[in-house]
């Protein structure tokens, strides 16, 4: 041992003899320091600190290669003669062609240091211009989708969704009645420049309730004085329609800049291989625009966006009672098939989402900034149902108006090896359930106040090792105004426990004002280590808390869009999740692997479970109750990338989740099945940047499911007969093939046209998906041929 250390010091000394130290400052065109720029001299690498400075020691003398890069800027590559210690300062020039990369760098220190982030860039997002946010997110392994039909798509991260997966759009938490499984994010995919998926609650600045994960959407920001336009036209065969999205952006590093985007979508009935999915058309008319004023020390942003969608709900999925449900499950054939049409009838959804925000950021010094933001969101959800009285057909059966105000203040600073972030948020939310619908709403009117405080510290031991820790406190209070049927109030057993909530009486109903306060502490700790040989290890542990949402607390009757009676429970407690998440990344020259196993132990996990059925004058309806249990979710995501040759490459993605209900020793319901995706790509830049991809999507049957089947009496051959309603058995596994190909034609230096041709479900396979809530009624969509034209100008 002693010998070894002598040898070690000897060797270091020997090599040290011929070695020098190089220092310098890397800045941008305006002389402002660039933090985290990559500096590579000889075989040594480092990154610049907050002042843009770097130090590289142990550089051998002689002719050496120098390489400096920073995302969004042109890299510098030169050869230098080194004979003694040296100072090398360089200024990097902005590269406007790497627009979305700029956003990455600009915000790279605003998310989580130690948890696995996966990013979708604009090139990927644009492929989904005609589709939804959920479908684009499915490109990330470990993200699956929960669908209602074809157009209502919610992301599921490691088996969890809705309120457990907050969506942060433009630094504003989307408040769009996200509790509903048939409520898709109210967001135009075309407004996203970059989407980041964080699998876990480690990004504490966005909230402490992300038990599943967070989706962070950022717009494209151009920081050069230029005017850039983009128009995307999509046409698809299935649905016989398409979309047109056009954006203009005036970029500027300092001074005024602005952007505007408009999207128009129009599609008719979709088709399965065998029949038309009647009433599955949808429309969208979206707009967003913003202005920005920036100086060296501060910038000011204001933006507004409007999302407006009309979505048809497949007619065959409208069920009257349990007989209809039984017949649908057993017939495997929809009860309504009509000829193709563009028109949308009831049942349908009409949703509007307004978002307006102002943001002011100021640099107190080179290392410290403060940020203030106010955002207002207004969400109006109208659901139209098949009504008994034809006069009411144009009257919504559900009309919820949700207004949300949020104020944020954030402080960021770098001190030596420390990076500190802290902030506070205040929120006020008001939901108004319009009583003029003539239908008792499941979600009551309510008022909610939120206040939160967080602090995050990152310590960088060196460029390869960092430790992150954060803590957050949230206070929330909610007061609802709700009429309960007296019979329901008693059946729920609220008489003794919650009589103090009763403030009035109206016929056979109690007027109640249930009020709840929540205090939550959230924390996380994480570690990142970069080894030699391009290997990286990340580990993160987090504690997250989520309060029960209004549907879990207050639901008390027939959910018309699902044909089931859903019962909330005022006794529900907050969910608490302990998630352990680790990522291994290894990068060989032509092969990259990323492995991401996780364990998520959730206390008081809230889920919907069938508990039997209730008989009404319309027949029997299955009753689903919100329950709490101890849950354990484990699983892994795997990604590999293989550059086979200059032209060919291969990608693999796999995701597995196991959900255990520990209290009942059953599996958890609605867990995504095992998925394997393989993609083979051919690329040839000399043929107008030709790219062609063939993707295989294998989804196994979900064999891990709880048995919630129930018996009921229905009329068979004019006799009332007991039958088993099989609502539990998942559909068969399936294999789909998809094709995508594109070519880019340069018209001149600034203008280009990209044409793409794609086919989804090439083999026109008939299948049903376990995570589609309409799987009892209809098959999934068949083949879809799409053409996309994209002009950049």
């Amino acid at each position: 041992m002693r010998f070894l250390s002598i040898l070690f010091f000897f060797l270091v000394g020997f090599f040290g003899y011929a070695q020098v130290t190089i220092t310098g400052v890397i800045s941008d065109e305006n002389g402002l320091p660039l933090t985290d720029a990559h500096v590579h001299i000889a075989n040594k690498t480092t990154s610049t600190d907050a002042n843009g400075t770097y130090v590289l020691s142990g550089i051998p003398k002689g002719k050496q290669k120098l390489y400096i890069s920073f995302i969004g800027y042109y890299a510098i590559e030169e050869t230098i003669e080194i004979s003694a210690d040296l100072t090398i300062n360089r200024q990097l020039k902005l590269d406007v062609t790497k627009l979305d990369d700029i956003t990455i760098q600009q915000l790279s220190n605003s998310k989580s240091e130690s948890s696995n982030e996966q990013v979708l860039k604009s090139a990927t997002i644009e492929k989904f211009s005609n589709q939804t946010l959920g479908e684009a997110l499915k490109e990330v392994s470990g993200v699956s989708i929960l669908k209602t039909g074809n157009t209502i798509v919610k992301p599921v991260i490691n088996g969890l969704h809705s309120n457990r997966v907050p969506i942060i759009n433009n630094n504003v938490r989307l408040e769009d009645q996200q509790w509903g499984t048939e409520h898709a994010p109210n967001f135009d995919i075309n407004a996203a420049g970059k989407i980041t998926v964080i699998k876990g609650a480690s990004a504490l600045q966005y909230g402490g309730d992300a038990i599943g994960g967070i989706v962070v959407i950022e717009p494209e920001v151009i920081k050069k004085d230029t005017l850039v336009g983009k128009t995307i036209l999509n046409l698809s065969s299935n649905g016989m329609g398409g979309s047109l999205s056009s954006s203009l952006q005036k970029g500027n590093r300092y001074g005024w800049s602005w952007n505007a985007l408009g999207t128009f979508k129009y599609l008719g009935d979709r088709e399965t291989p065998d029949y038309v999915l009647s009433n599955s058309g949808n429309r969208e008319q979206n707009f967003s625009g913003g202005i920005r004023f920036a100086k060296e020390k501060y910038n000011f942003n204001a933006m507004y966006s409007f999302y407006n969608a009309q979505i048809g709900i497949i007619k065959a999925s409208h069920i009257g009672n349990v007989n209809d449900l039984y017949n649908s499950i057993n017939n495997q054939q929809p009860s309504v098939i009509e000829p193709f049409t563009y028109s949308i009838d009831a049942p349908k959804q009409e949703v509007q989402h307004h978002l307006a925000k102002v943001n002011y950021q100021r640099w107190l010094n080179e290392n410290t900034s403060i940020d203030f933001q106010y955002a207002f969101q207004f969400n109006n959800r109208l659901e139209f149902d098949v009504r008994r009285n034809d006069e009411n057909t144009n009257k919504a059966a559900l009309d919820l108006q949700l207004a949300t105000h949020t104020f944020l203040a954030d402080y960021k600073t770098n001190i030596g090896n420390w990076r500190l972030k802290s902030g506070l948020n205040l929120g006020y939310q008001n939901n108004f359930a319009n009583p003029k619908t003539g239908v008792r709403p499941l979600i009551p009117s309510y008022e909610k106040l939120d206040a939160g405080l967080y602090g995050i510290a990152v310590y960088k031991f060196d460029n390869a090792t960092s430790l992150e820790s954060g803590i957050r406190y949230d206070f929330s209070t909610i007061e609802a105004t709700k009429y309960y049927l007296k019979s329901r109030w008693t059946e729920r057993g609220y008489d003794a426990e919650f009589s103090h909530f009763i403030v009035g009486e109206e016929g056979n109903q109690w007027l109640t004002k249930p009020t709840f306060d929540y205090h939550n502490i959230t924390a996380n700790i994480g570690f990142r280590k970069q080894f030699h040989h391009e290997m990286e290890w990340l580990v993160n542990m987090s504690l997250a808390s989520r309060n029960p949402n209004p549907s879990e607390l207050f639901s008390d009757g027939l959910h018309h869009s699902t044909g089931q009676i859903e019962l909330g429970d005022l006794r529900l407690e907050k969910e608490q999740a302990y998630k352990f998440n680790t990522t291994f990344k290894k990068d060989w020259k032509s092969f990259q692997v990323q492995l991401n196993p996780f364990i998520n132990r959730i206390s008081n996990f809230i889920y919907l479970q069938p508990i039997g059925f209730e008989t009404t004058i319309r027949g029997a309806f299955p009753v689903w109750e919100f329950k709490q249990t101890e849950a354990l979710l484990t699983g892994f995501d795997v990604n590999t990338k293989w550059s086979i040759s200059n032209h060919f490459s291969h990608e693999l993605g796999m995701a597995y989740v196991n959900g255990q209900n520990l209290s009942t020793n059953e599996y958890l319901i609605d867990m995504p099945p095992f998925v394997i995706n393989n993609k083979i790509q051919y690329k040839n830049e000399s043929w107008f940047n030709f790219v062609s991809e063939l993707k295989s999507e294998v989804v196994f049957r979900q064999n891990q499911f709880p048995n919630y089947n129930f018996e009921t009496n229905i009329v068979v051959d004019d006799e009332l007969t007991p039958v088993l309603v099989d609502i539990s058995s998942p559909p068969k596994g399936y294999h789909l093939l998809h094709l995508y190909s594109e070519m880019t034609f340069k018209i001149n230096k600034k203008n280009s046209l990209t044409t793409s041709f794609s086919v989804q479900n090439i083999m026109n396979t008939t299948y049903r998906d376990y995570l589609n809530r309409q799987r009892f009624f209809v098959d999934e969509m068949g083949r879809n041929v799409q053409i996309q034209l994209k002009f950049n100008y």
């Binding site: 008001n430 105004t481 009757g557 009404t616």
Partner: protein, 186 residues
């Protein structure tokens, strides 16, 4: 300039604070059917079968009268009629009128074992198709027991096979009421 921005920041929330009229009015539930009443007249007697559910989608099951079910006399021909009411309104709303007026979009179905009886429609809508509010029931064989299921559908396909003769299988549409009455034949 700086102050102006600050003021803008403070003013904007006020502009957006759209105050919703949070009146605590209860929902006036429309389109509710609380009561299905089947009246059978024949053999010198009147039999009334009733299902009444005053809490709608609430937990209480409909109350069926007479308790123990209706009792028919074997071989008797009954003149039947069915009524639908909303008894939450005062006075009770007679939905039967509406079903009759929009007869082309509605139909009442009767499902029962042939040993209990057979039902034949006696009314028609504007297209000459049955509505099913009026019918005749010929009671079956003595000693039988079973269930009479009465279903009101709307927006159904009245031209589908078997629908005009009372077979619900291909009817489609949506169910407004579905009740089961126990029936015995003496």
């Amino acid at each position: 300039m700086k102050n102006l921005k600050l003021i803008a920041l403070l003013v904007i929330p006020v502009i957006f604070s759209t105050s919703c009229s949070n009146d605590d009015a209860p929902v006036n539930e429309e389109e509710v059917i609380t009561t299905v009443r089947v009246t059978l007249v024949g053999g010198g007697q009147t039999i009334v079968l009733e299902s009444r559910d005053l809490d709608g989608d609430g937990p209480n099951a409909p109350v069926l009268t007479p308790v123990g079910g209706g009792i028919l006399v074997a071989g008797t021909t009954y003149t039947g009629s069915t009524e639908f009411l909303n008894e939450l309104e005062d006075p009770a709303e007679d939905i039967t009128v509406e079903v009759e007026e929009e007869g082309a979009d509605h139909q009442v179905f009767y499902q029962l074992p042939s040993s209990i009886g057979t039902v034949t429609y006696t009314d028609t809508d504007t297209n000459g198709k049955p509505i099913g509010l009026n019918f005749t029931l010929v009671a079956g064989t003595s000693g039988s027991t079973g269930t009479l299921t009465v279903t009101l559908r709307h927006d159904l396909n009245k031209s589908a096979a078997g629908v005009a003769s009372g077979d619900i299988t291909n009817a489609g549409g949506s169910t407004d009421a579905a009740v089961n009455f126990s029936v015995a034949v003496n």
